[in-house]
């Protein structure tokens, strides 16, 4: 993770994997990005675990837990500020 306020990360070259596929298909077939995206999207989608509920729930729960812990930490800091601890 780059520093949030650094300039560095706005200077490096970056390409989205899906956008790269769209651009490539458009060039190969001499079609618009829009038409290329219609061809490419279903293929790309198959590489994503959309219907794996177990994976999805685990990922969601992990983040929920992190948020709960953050809330706890915030509450603790608030109490410390008030001199209650």
């Amino acid at each position: 993770m780059a520093e949030p306020t650094s300039d560095k990360h706005y200077e490096e070259k970056f390409e989205f994997s899906l956008w790269k596929l769209i651009k490539k298909r458009a060039e190969q077939k001499d079609i618009s990005y829009h038409d290329a995206s219609i061809e490419v999207l279903p293929e790309f989608q198959k590489t994503i675990r959309y219907r794996d509920k177990e994976f999805e729930e685990a990922a969601i729960q992990k983040r929920r837990q992190e948020m709960l812990e953050l809330s706890e930490l915030e509450r603790k800091l608030e109490r410390l500020k008030k001199g209650e601890e």
């Binding site: 949030p4 999207l41 989608q45």
Partner: protein, 563 residues
């Protein structure tokens, strides 16, 4: 004076629909199926117009997970409370319909050739990041929803007037009987006689600065919406005498850097996993309310940043798919700036009001009827049914039922003096030289909202804003000039915006309380007398009326569990 001498064109129709976005197109296609003559009037071009012009990646609500309409109302109201505070702001019978008719709406959509299923023939219900709970939101691949819908409208036999701006509604004895309109390319002045009128325009947003802080001409880029969102539906309804609701409530949020928007700039809904937020020096925080953000600013902890580095790879790829579905141009913008959302944090800028959306708009009942006979409102311009899925439902419900009203409504009678007066007003800017450019006046009006209304309100600022607005109206509105019909449209939009900003300030002034994100610095507590009340504004014989009205109760037949 005969109508055909006053107008370049006179159109007679059963139903006129103003606005060719999702709601308007569904209503037009469905009403035409009942054999009605339907005329859809669209300010832009309906193949790529409205809030879903560039596409749509989600649709809600759809009945799922065993949730009943009654349970859904509770979920719906919890969501409203998170934004607007305690109490009800819309008629609960409307959200009841969202869920009760949602499966019917999905079926009807499929029949019109607009599928919500994926390539594998199945639906995909997204988990909800913000509120958790049941899965009622479908992930849809609707990059081309607008061209597909526009095609369905043409196929249905409905007539479409593209590049046509409605000037005002025509009324007679309290009934809406049509509208006057202008072609924004040719300047043709059109009179539309209609037995019923459906408003299906967008929300009202061009009263605040857009979220996009780049130097696009006149700051006309709004990330949720296209630049056409000048509240035209709200304004014509008000001037015709219909009730507008909750003009004190604005949507609010952060301006987000550049134009990455959905999904990386707005990825709280990342299929169930919420983003992470940080202060500039790396302290993790929860997504802040306006009040909390103010404290962050005072402590010198801003700017704040969003991060997606915690997302599993599958989720990062899901967001790429969402880009294609809703705003493919964002890929290019991100790459041009070298922005990699997997490694870089994304700045959230000033927290401010964005637009007037749920629960604002033309006040409607559960059948989407307004307070004026013959006038309906659906989608983002109605109080209670904004957003993609609800716009679809509203369009289909009105389209499926309006024939009942049309068959019993008599022939519309047009008041020619009203037409003449609207024509003179609409065309006046063409004859003004060295006057005021519409966008100059619009930007001054937006400044009033930013400076004198904003997130943190008080009587002093609001009163000064009211005075400044009156002064602008008096001095500059009559001097608006238009060098061509396109600018004539801009002048009409400016008039609409100024009318609605006046209502916005008036509604904020009478609300002497703080509740949810309606924040008054001089009234910091809730006013219990405002619990579950709607602010209603209308024009009665040319005089503005403002009343505070109780939100209707849920109908007893709906309140029965297990219906």
């Amino acid at each position: 004076m005969a109508l055909d001498r006053m107008a370049d064109r006179v159109i007679e129709t059963d139903v006129m629909i103003m606005g060719g976005g999702i709601a308007g197109c569904y209503a037009a296609a469905k009403a035409a199926q009942h054999g009605l003559h339907v005329t859809l009037v669209e300010k832009a071009k309906s193949d790529r117009s409205g809030t879903a012009a560039m596409g749509m990646d989600h649709y809600e609500p759809v009945q799922n997970d065993g949730i009943t309409p009654l349970e859904f109302i509770k979920l719906w109201e919890e969501r409203q409370h998170a934004l607007n505070g305690d109490g009800r702001f819309t008629d609960p019978n409307i959200p009841y319909q969202y869920l009760d008719k949602s499966l019917w709406a999905v079926e009807e959509s499929e029949k019109l050739g607009i599928t919500l299923k994926w390539d594998d023939g199945k639906f995909y219900f997204m988990p909800q990041a913000w509120f958790g709970g049941p899965r009622l939101m479908l992930r849809v691949h609707w990059q081309d929803i607008k061209p597909i819908l526009a095609k369905a409208v043409r196929k249905s036999g409905a007539s479409v007037l593209e590049r046509t701006m409605v000037v005002d509604l025509l009324t007679n004895n309290g009934r809406v009987v049509g509208a006057t309109a202008l072609n924004t390319r040719t300047g043709e002045f059109i009179v539309i006689k209609a037995k019923a009128v459906v408003l299906a325009t967008g929300m009202f947003a061009r009263c605040y600065e857009p979220e996009e802080p780049l130097f696009y001409k006149y700051q006309m880029k709004y990330h949720w919406c296209p630049s056409s969102i000048s509240g035209d539906g709200y304004a014509v309804a008000y001037r015709a005498g219909a009730d507008l609701a909750n003009m004190d409530i604005t949507g609010w949020g952060f301006r987000i850097r550049d134009d990455l928007t959905i999904s990386y700039g707005n990825f709280d809904h990342g299929d169930g996993i919420r983003a992470k937020w940080y202060t500039w020096d790396g302290e993790e925080i929860h997504y802040p309310t306006a009040q909390v953000y103010r404290e962050i600013e005072l402590k010198g902890k801003d700017p704040i940043y969003v991060s997606a580095d915690h997302l599993p790879d599958d989720y990062a790829n899901r967001m790429q798919v969402a880009f294609v579905d809703e705003k493919m141009i964002s890929f290019k913008i991100a790459e041009d700036r070298g922005f990699n959302p997997r490694t870089h944090r994304y700045e959230l800028m000033e927290n401010h009001p964005l637009n007037l959306i749920m629960p604002t708009g033309v006040n409607v009942d559960e059948d989407f009827k307004s307070s004026l006979e013959g006038l309906y409102a659906i989608g983002d311009c109605s109080n209670g049914a904004h957003g993609c899925g609800r716009s679809t439902l509203g369009g289909l419900v009105v389209g499926d039922n309006i024939h009942k009203y049309v068959s019993s409504a008599g022939e519309p009678t047009i008041d020619e003096a009203q037409v003449e007066s609207q024509k003179q007003m609409a065309l006046a800017p063409l004859s003004i030289k060295d006057g005021t450019e519409p966008m100059e006046l619009e930007l001054s009006t937006r400044y009033i909202c930013k400076r004198y209304v904003g997130m943190f309100k008080n009587d002093g600022r609001l009163l000064e804003g009211q005075r400044r607005l009156r002064s602008l109206r008096r001095e500059f509105l009559p001097t608006l000039m238009a060098k061509n019909p396109h600018y004539l449209m801009r002048a009409l939009e400016c008039r609409n915006i100024m009318d609605l900003v006046g209502l916005h300030i008036d509604a904020c002034l009478v609300r002497k309380e703080t509740r949810g994100q309606f924040i008054r610095l001089d009234y910091t507590e809730k006013d219990p007398s405002r619990d579950s009340m709607i602010t209603i504004q209308r024009l009665d014989n040319g005089k503005p009326v403002l009343e505070i009205r109780k939100v209707p109760d849920l109908k007893p037949e709906y309140a029965k569990e297990g219906k």
